[in-house]
C-alpha cells in the first residue's frame, strides 16, 4: 500500500474515486467524457467541480453515484466499492447519496403534490411509515423555507426558486452523507440564486452533509466550496483548497478561466481584453480529443512536448495538484510562449 499524505490521513474520505472512466458509444465512434479521474471528498466537505460545457463534469457526478456506470475505475463510498455493487445493495446505498439537478421542473414529477415528492424517498427506502414520513417531509419543507401552505401544491404552481427548495428538501430528507449538486442555481434568476446558495450553506451546517458542487460559474463555486477541482475535456487539470486555487491558479487553463470571469468592477473593460488574449479558440470536440495535454491547442505556453505527452497530476504544495508540464516555468515567468511547432489555436 502506498503512503497516505499527512494532510489527508487525518480523516478517512467519505468518497474516493480512482481512475474513473466513462465511455459513451456515439455515431462515429466512442466518446470518453470522463477519462481516468481520481478525487476525494471528506465527510462534510464541499468539493467544487468547475469547467465549461462538455468537459464531463455532470457525467462525472452521475458516474460517482453510479447513475452512469463507469467503464473503468473504482468509487469507494462509506467503505464500499460502489462499482462492485448492483441491484438491491446499490439501491440501499442511495439513501446516503442524493443528487439535485439544474432544472427542477424537469426532475420533479409535475403531477405529484410537493409533500409527496419530499416523502417519496422515505417510502422508497422504507425509512418511515406514512405518518412519520409526512411529518419528516413537513419539517424538511420548513427547513428549506417553504411554509405549510405549499404542502399540497404541485410543481407547476411554484416558481423556479421554490422548486429548487423542494428538490433540496427531497434530497436531504433521507439524511444523506453526500449530495451531488449539478448546477443547482444556474437556471434561477440572479436575485433568487443568492437565496438558494445561502440555503445550501445553512443546510450543510445543520446536517454536516458533503456536497459535490458542479458549476460552470467559478464565482459561485468559489463562494460555496472548501476545495475546487477544475475539469477540462474529461480530465481534472488542477485542484486545491479554494483560496489557494483562486489566489494562485497554476494551470494555464485555470488561469484563463479565472481571468475570463467578468467582474462588475471599474476595470472590467481592461480585463476583458486581457482575458480574450489569454484564452483563444473553443473547447475541442470530445470525439477527437487533442493528443498529449488536452489543453495544448488553446494554451499560450504550449510546446512540442505538450502535443505528444500527457502531463501527470503533480502535487505543488499546500494541497494543490496540477497537471501541466511547465507549471514551474509559468510560475516563475520563464515559460516560453507557444512555439510554431505546437500548432496554431483553432476553433
Amino acid at each position: 500500500m502506498t503512503a497516505v499524505p499527512a494532510a489527508e490521513a487525518t480523516a478517512a474520505p467519505l468518497m474516493e474515486a480512482r481512475g474513473v472512466t466513462v465511455r459513451f458509444p456515439v455515431r462515429g465512434g466512442v466518446i470518453v467524457p470522463v477519462d481516468g479521474v481520481s478525487l476525494q471528498i471528506a465527510p462534510g466537505e464541499t468539493l467544487g467541480l468547475v469547467g465549461e460545457s462538455g468537459c464531463g463534469k455532470s457525467t462525472l457526478g452521475r458516474a460517482l453515484l453510479q447513475l452512469v456506470r463507469p467503464a473503468a475505475g473504482r468509487v469507494a463510498f462509506m467503505g464500499q466499492d460502489l462499482t462492485a455493487l448492483d441491484g438491491e445493495p446499490l439501491r440501499a446505498m442511495r439513501r446516503h447519496m442524493q443528487i439535485v439537478f439544474q432544472d427542477p421542473r424537469g426532475s420533479l414529477d409535475p403531477r405529484m403534490a410537493v409533500r409527496r415528492i419530499v416523502e417519496e424517498p422515505l417510502r422508497v427506502h422504507r425509512l418511515a411509515g406514512p405518518p412519520e414520513a409526512a411529518r419528516a417531509a413537513r419539517e424538511m419543507l420548513a427547513l428549506v423555507g417553504l411554509d405549510a401552505i405549499y404542502d399540497r401544491q404541485r410543481p407547476s404552481q411554484l416558481s423556479g426558486g421554490q422548486l429548487q427548495r423542494v428538490a433540496l428538501a427531497r434530497a436531504l430528507v433521507t439524511r444523506p452523507k453526500l449530495v451531488v449538486c449539478d448546477e443547482p442555481v444556474s437556471a434561477l434568476d440572479v436575485s433568487v440564486q443568492a437565496q438558494v446558495l445561502n440555503l445550501l450553506i445553512d443546510l450543510r451546517a445543520r446536517f454536516g452533509v458533503a456536497y459535490l458542487f458542479i458549476s460552470h460559474n467559478l464565482a459561485v463555486a468559489r463562494y460555496i466550496s472548501d476545495r475546487v477541482a477544475v475539469m477540462y475535456l474529461g480530465q481534472i487539470v488542477e485542484e486545491g483548497p479554494t483560496d489557494t486555487l483562486f489566489a494562485r491558479p497554476r494551470h494555464p487553463y485555470t488561469q484563463g478561466l479565472v481571468a475570463s470571469v467578468l467582474r462588475p468592477g471599474l476595470e472590467a473593460r481592461d480585463r476583458l481584453g486581457a482575458a480574450a488574449r489569454l484564452v483563444t479558440g473553443d473547447v475541442p470536440s470530445l470525439l477527437q480529443p487533442p493528443t498529449g495535454c488536452r489543453y495544448h491547442p488553446r494554451c499560450p505556453f504550449a510546446q512540442e512536448r505538450c502535443r505528444t505527452e500527457a502531463p501527470r497530476p503533480e502535487p505543488v504544495g499546500g494541497g494543490q495538484v496540477v497537471a501541466c508540464h511547465f507549471w514551474r516555468e509559468i510560475e516563475t515567468g520563464t515559460a516560453r510562449l507557444r512555439s510554431a511547432a505546437a500548432g496554431a489555436p483553432s476553433g
Binding site: 436575485s191 463562494y223 475570463s260 480574450a276 473553443d282
Partner: protein
C-alpha cells in the same frame, strides 16, 4: 452641442393580454442612444429589457395579443408608425440583432454562407456571386478560419462560440447603424464569452455602429458599456454611467444587484445579500413602486405612490422615494484591494 440621438424611445408602453389580465411588460420607458455609443440594459427575466428591444423592431410572437404605445424614433422616423413592409427595410439593414441562442436563430438546413448572403441580396440587391464573396469576407471579419470552405457548412458543424460569430456576421452584413445584442454571450462558455464581447466591440468601432447590450450580468455590462439602464418590473428604475451605478447606486435594486452574485474580487466570507421573494409580473393595476414588495427600504409611501425620477448627478437618475429624500442605499461592501 447636443448630438442628435440615433435612437430615441419615448414613453414606450407594451402590454400583453393574458388570461390573468393585462400584463404591463414595459410601462413608460424612455431612453436614447447616440451614434457610436454603447448603452447597457441590465435586469432579470421579466424586467422588460428584452420586450423593450423586441418592440423597437415589432418582433413579437405571431399570436401575441399586444398593444404598443409611445414613440420609437430611429433617425427621426417613428418605427411604430411604419408599415410591415417599411419595417422590413429597417430590420436587418439598419438595425441588426443578435440573440442569446444562435442555434434557434440560425436555419439548421441552410449553409451559413447562404444565410449571410440572403440578407445581402434582400437588402442590398447584390448578385448571387457578389453576395457569396461578401459573405466570405464577413466570416473572416468575425474570426471564422478558412471562410471559403466553411461558408458551405451547416450550422451544426460549428461550436457554440463560432455559431454566435456567424449570427454576428448576419447581423452586421448590411452594416447597420445600430446593433442590439440580447444576452449574446449568456449561452457561451466563459472563455468564449470574452472573445465574443471583444469581437462585438471591435466591429462596433470599425463599422461606427451604436450598440445596445442587454444582459442580466453586471460584469458583461461593466466590461462593454459606459452608460447603463437598470430595469425592473417594466420600468427603468435607475440610469447613469457605469461608475455611478456601481459606486454610488441610488436605487435599492441597483445597490442589491451588486451584492447579489458571488464576485471573485470579494472576500469569500463576505455573505451574499439576497433580495427576498422573486420578480413577479405586473398584471393589472399596481400602485406605488414595482420593487416595493422586495425592497428593504420600502416605506408606506412606496406602496401607494409612484416614485419620482430624481436626478442624483449628471445623467444619473433614480426612480425612488428614498432618492427624493436624499438617502442612498447602503453601498456595496468594498473588496480588499479591489475597486478604486
Amino acid at each position: 452641442m447636443i448630438q442628435e440621438p440615433l435612437l430615441d424611445v419615448r414613453n414606450l408602453r407594451v402590454r400583453f393580454e393574458t388570461p390573468r389580465g393585462l400584463l404591463r411588460a414595459v410601462d413608460g420607458v424612455s431612453f436614447s442612444v447616440a451614434p457610436r455609443e454603447t448603452v447597457g440594459i441590465v435586469g432579470e427575466s421579466g424586467s422588460g429589457k428584452s420586450v423593450t428591444m423586441l418592440s423597437v423592431l415589432r418582433l413579437f410572437p405571431p399570436l401575441a395579443r399586444v398593444s404598443v404605445s409611445g414613440q420609437v424614433l430611429f433617425e427621426g422616423t417613428d418605427l411604430l408608425r411604419l408599415s410591415e413592409a417599411e419595417l422590413r427595410e429597417v430590420r436587418g439593414a439598419k438595425i441588426g440583432m443578435v440573440f442569446q441562442d444562435p442555434l434557434t436563430s440560425l436555419n439548421p438546413a441552410l449553409p451559413v454562407g447562404e444565410q449571410i448572403a440572403e440578407s445581402l441580396r434582400t437588402h442590398r440587391g447584390l448578385s448571387r456571386g457578389a453576395a457569396r464573396r461578401r459573405a466570405e469576407e464577413l466570416l473572416e471579419l468575425v474570426g471564422i478560419p478558412d471562410p471559403g470552405r466553411r461558408a458551405d457548412d451547416l450550422p451544426y458543424r460549428f461550436s457554440g462560440g463560432m455559431r454566435q460569430r456567424i449570427m454576428i456576421a448576419i447581423a452586421i452584413a448590411c452594416e447597420p447603424k445600430l446593433l442590439i445584442a440580447d444576452e449574446p454571450t449568456s449561452a457561451l462558455d466563459v472563455t468564449v464569452q470574452a472573445q465574443v464581447l471583444v469581437l462585438l466591440e471591435r466591429l462596433q468601432r470599425e463599422l461606427g455602429m451604436s450598440l445596445i447590450m442587454i444582459s442580466h450580468d453586471l460584469g458583461v455590462i461593466a466590461a462593454t458599456s459606459r452608460r447603463v439602464l437598470v430595469m425592473y418590473g417594466g420600468w427603468i428604475v435607475e440610469r447613469g454611467s457605469v461608475e455611478e451605478i456601481l459606486e454610488r447606486p441610488g436605487h435599492p435594486y441597483s445597490a442589491a444587484l451588486t451584492r447579489l452574485v458571488p464576485d471573485l474580487d470579494q472576500p469569500r466570507d463576505e455573505p451574499l445579500v439576497p433580495i427576498p421573494g422573486q420578480p413577479t409580473p405586473v398584471v393589472g393595476h399596481m400602485p406605488g413602486c414595482r420593487f416595493a414588495a422586495r425592497c428593504g427600504y420600502a416605506m408606506d409611501r412606496c406602496r401607494e405612490e409612484t416614485p419620482p425620477a430624481v436626478a442624483l448627478a449628471t445623467e444619473h437618475i433614480s426612480l425612488c422615494w428614498l432618492s427624493a429624500d436624499g438617502i442612498r442605499p447602503a453601498p456595496a461592501p468594498t473588496p480588499a484591494g479591489g475597486r478604486r
